[in-house]
Symmetry: D2
Subunit: 394 residues, 4 copies
């Protein structure tokens, strides 16, 4: 079942905005992007403290002159080089996503950006239009979707293994902000500040993961209307929420519930999705990411394991699978699978394919999904701020 994963083409020259020393997410990006040879890390504007950023970049193997003080300088200087960067990853606080992504596209770069994509649907649509116009790849790092078993679930649902989809239960429910830790943690502080985080905290930070996971597993499903209620249990976080529940009504009669929280005391993750159909349910849980629970009504629950012969393999899933069954894959492998697909998309675009064509042929979180995430958050806020009433999903 193992298949060595390696991109066929030469690596893309790649830079980073953000992700400096002490950034966990920066480390994950670098580890994953370069894992399969899809990207080669050659430049960075890694830190708001330019000196610290340079020092760290050199430690990571960059040439000192390609450690830039800010992203604008990086884009300008790299553009002058024959061996300048072809792609850039943006992992800075949310409020900068829009402007950096925009500049990167204008500089002709392929872009990978953290979620949530940006603050407003207008901005998101503009980025989308720009990506299409420039014909550049634009990936959005919904990083849990590289696990083989997530693709297995998608494929089983598409084949009708659970019957008609009736109910989707989604949650991402950790407890790391149970206490007002923002006074001590910079990583929390910017997330609970509207200026840097936008109009939401957990809806954008956690809820969009759930949303994308559901869209990946059940791609045909369209939201008809939704209702959101949100709370700031640590009061100083208001108006940003640390807990939110969203009810979803899909077209055709299915319903959903989404719970995003960072005050689920004692929990370290608890990201789960359960899709319930007219014949069976399928459940994936990020704490056992190499298993799927497949539960046909009236039959014993079956625990499917990654890497086994009985899986319904397609190329997407095979390509996600780095080990034989029994060996645990973790979040790095999920991200690496995602970045490998980013690289493949970039290569196709560089070979002349068109963005929307490329995206329609693969399963990788991209600008379209980023737009949907922003749309979703906007509707949630509209509902929550209007007494938690239903809002049509447009």
């Amino acid at each position: 079942m193992f298949r060595e994963v390696w991109t066929s083409a030469a690596p893309l020259r790649w830079g980073m905005v953000g992700g400096g020393q002490g950034s966990e997410i920066g480390y994950i990006h670098r580890s994953s992007a370069c894992r399969d040879g899809g990207f080669k890390f050659v430049a960075g504007a890694l830190d708001v403290d330019a000196e610290r950023g340079r020092e760290f970049g050199v430690k990571l193997g960059l040439s000192p002159e390609r450690c830039y003080s800010d992203y604008k300088t990086m884009f300008a200087e790299e553009a002058k080089r024959e061996d300048g960067i072809q792609a850039v990853t943006i992992c800075v606080p949310n409020f900068l996503h829009y402007e950096v992504s925009r500049e990167a596209l204008l500089a002709g770069l392929h872009v990978v950006c953290e979620k949530p994509l940006c603050f407003t649907l207008e901005e998101a649509e503009e980025l989308k239009a720009l990506a299409i116009e420039k014909n550049r790849m634009f990936g959005v790092t919904y990083g849990y979707t590289g696990f083989p078993m997530v693709h297995q679930a998608r494929q089983m649902i598409a084949r009708g293994d659970i019957g008609d989809v009736r109910i989707i239960k989604m949650q991402f429910a950790h407890g790391f902000q149970t206490h007002p830790v923002e006074s001590k943690s910079a990583g929390t502080a910017w997330r609970v500040n509207p200026k840097t985080s936008g109009s939401t905290y957990v809806l954008g930070d956690l809820g969009t993961h759930c949303l994308y996971m559901s869209q990946m597993m059940v791609p045909g499903l369209e939201i008809e209307k939704l209702l959101c209620t949100r709370q700031s249990f640590v009061a100083s976080r208001a108006p940003l929420e640390d807990n939110a529940t969203v009810l979803l009504q899909y077209k055709g009669g299915a319903v959903g519930t989404l719970w995003a929280t960072s005050v689920n005391a004692g929990s370290t993750h608890q990201q789960k999705i359960r899709v319930i159909g007219s014949k069976a349910s399928i459940e994936w849980w990020d704490e056992h990411p190499n298993q799927l629970s497949y539960e046909v009504q009236g039959e014993p629950v079956r625990i499917l394991e990654h890497g086994m012969d009985y899986l319904y393999l397609d190329d997407e899933m095979t390509a996600s699978n780095r080990m034989g069954s029994g060996h645990s894959e973790g979040l790095f492998e999920s991200w690496s699978g995602m970045y490998r697909r980013f690289a493949e998309c970039c290569q196709k675009l560089d070979g002349g394919a068109k963005l929307l064509d490329v995206l329609s042929g693969t399963w990788v979180p991209n600008i379209l999904d980023g737009v949907e995430g922003v749309r979703f958050v906007e509707h949630c806020v509209e509902s929550a701020d209007n007494g938690s009433l239903w809002v049509e999903y447009i």
Copy 2:
């Protein structure tokens, strides 16, 4: 930690309405009521088919003449006997709860009735008033609340072990009605028929269990408003729902989510409650009823086991505990603990105590909880039938 459980007084002479041959719930009632010597089974109107009922009653050890064709006859005839019944359990389809309970109280009997108590809040309030007037015990069989660990959770929350309550997640989510089994199952057929089941199915049948569990664990909590959405995924069940989600806003800022469903394909039970506080969470799951998960933010998750010395014992909990740690207790023990408390309440009333005084001093599901269950269901229906809008909880 083990303490032999046995009621001190003579058993109450006890009859049943319903619970005839093939009734699982009837069997649980009998097994539990007589377990600790609180009740002695002496009479029954067990079946709509009088002959079948008599035959079955005799098999269970009743005298033939005390196997009655209907409850009215039973109440009348038993009243004439010196050794007539003192208490009666009513386990008939929902639409009969009100009238049989009313007649039983009028006949001067202590009553135990299945949930949901009745169809309307008016009826429920009438039964409550009548029970107070007649000073008869009126138990309602929320049968999961006899587990020692449920009482342990209540006590820990009361002591502040989780801090201020913020969020309550409740669910009772099985899949036994995934398919339209009502064509073959009489037990499902009456439940999805409004004439026999009332205005709801899973809200009354499952959701009221969740509600009572939350009220038992967090007794001070008052609902301020709620919102309900319900669906009939097997369309022929409409207007009765086979899936429902309720959002709850409590006074003081806490929130809740309640999911009741019988179309959770592949699941056999999945009744869970998680109470999340400002310091810790506590979770009980009926599939591991002898454990509690106690999760203090920033500390390792602790798995508490029934029967261990480290538990915070009070008399209520000790009295619920029939075995040492490591030995599994099941639903029968939970029910038996509940019935033992029913018996103790009856004895106190017979000794001259007043109903409301007795109820305020113990933790046993009773008429007041039954009324609350009906109130809850009414508000849910009101919300669901009005576009799933918020309704004030009065």
Copy 3:
């Protein structure tokens, strides 16, 4: 799947030797024996302290004159009554099992005795011969074998669902004697004293449960030789062990490992059996007694749930099943199922059937299994005391 369990005949008049106030095991015996109407508790020699025993017996509903000071008096006096006891349960420390059982058989009583049956194989064989001669039922309380899923496993193995049996892994591994608690606990003190416990502690107390479970699930399997190593980690317990491991070689090539311990720190039970075959494995664990894990090589693990339609039902298993799927059954139900079968066997013998014929037609732990348990313990001790060498199993 639910079937009401009730014995058809009149209850047998039943007494107890031991099981007085504060005895957990006494409580389990009484609760289980009387559960289905198979036995009626009418007499007892419950306590070495005669007065305390009488007081407790009366509290349990016995007539004062049938609360005896010792078992000899009870057997003699009851024999004079027309309504004297027909059956007796013996739950006294191990060193008394032989003499009380012998006297009971001589008094013409059906017997139920705690395990381990007695101290020597000679005694055990004598009891067996006497039971056959007197044609009295002789049950031995391997009380975990009443769970429906244990019978399901037996049936699946018999049908070839796992192929040829290769390996049996057995364990009963709690930690309640991690510390030298015998100084404070009378229940531990007699168990670690050779005078009252015999030549072993955990081998007899826990290991025989494992052995019987394996014999019940795989009845054809014969031990060819075994090797035992045992330790007294609390040194004052020597020569009695608090930890033991047994290697088993079965005729035909299968092998087994059995681990019995009471110093598995932090564990409350951990009784498990896994039978591994040439096609699949099947595993039962007493902490989830209503489930079986069925694991076909190359297929997803299946979790079988009690009470479901997909189970391979035979009468034995159906008769063990008191609830529908999703409702948890516990140890009391397992014991009750065992006692119901004891009653049925007694009734058959009273009806003229012969003991060995009756035993060969049902699955209930009996004198033959009790003899096997003693044989097993003797061989283990022989091996352990001779440098843990292999001993032929005769």
Copy 4:
């Protein structure tokens, strides 16, 4: 808790013997060795089919001229280059470990070799002596020991958190050879052939992992004697076993049990270790590698999570931790941590330190552990082949 992991020095020029196309283990070696910049992959003798090896090497980024037809040529040619390899990993079938390792050391290379190290203790001791003489690092890939929680367990045991060690339960028990798959699987075929695998299969392949894990967690423990029983359930594998059980007697009174099998039908891994002490037990399971179960007798079980503040951190453990709590790490991270330590050791030796000094100051599986593994296997075979008697451990 996150700390970016990166080696400080320049990467070592590194080659591979074996690990060609389709080799899962080869992929893991490459992914891990290069992960933190400790090694740079520059040369290989990857395949017995020289052409296929060259093609694959080029695909992986090697220069064609550094893709060698065999390891001797590689060592000779690389030695002539200024930029020749400094280290080599050997992942070929067991029978080649000795000769390739020996040649590598003679060529002055740091060595990383798969386990079991070689066939005889003599060979193993020779390799050890040679490594000391040449002062070259010699790592052995017990690849599960890079998980942070394994180091956490070691540290807790060393601090006395479980009291005195009494019992060690070890198992590595998968089912992938339940059927005679060697007819179709080359990877199985060489493992069950004595010519290529040596005197054992699962003892060397799986059992040595368990042994090393126990030695890492409880470093002071010395085996006094052991007894081994082994079987070939697929008969054609004889004399190589597909199932083995080892009883261990440690100096000082502790005991152990080790189960290694590849016929545990339905299981995909099941590598576990439980260390039981006089106060508590600690258990690690490779299917939940980011958790530890810490079970103090008389207290609730605690589930420790990687990356949390409450862990007892030392530098070794911190350096193993690549992500914050809640994010799953997998086997690649474990291997990467191991290879990072290999690199650090190489750097120290290149800086003039002496091998045994370096090894005594870190926790990384090395030649000394490799020797112990061979010693263990030899004793097991000696026992098993002599009627499974106890053998003194010398």
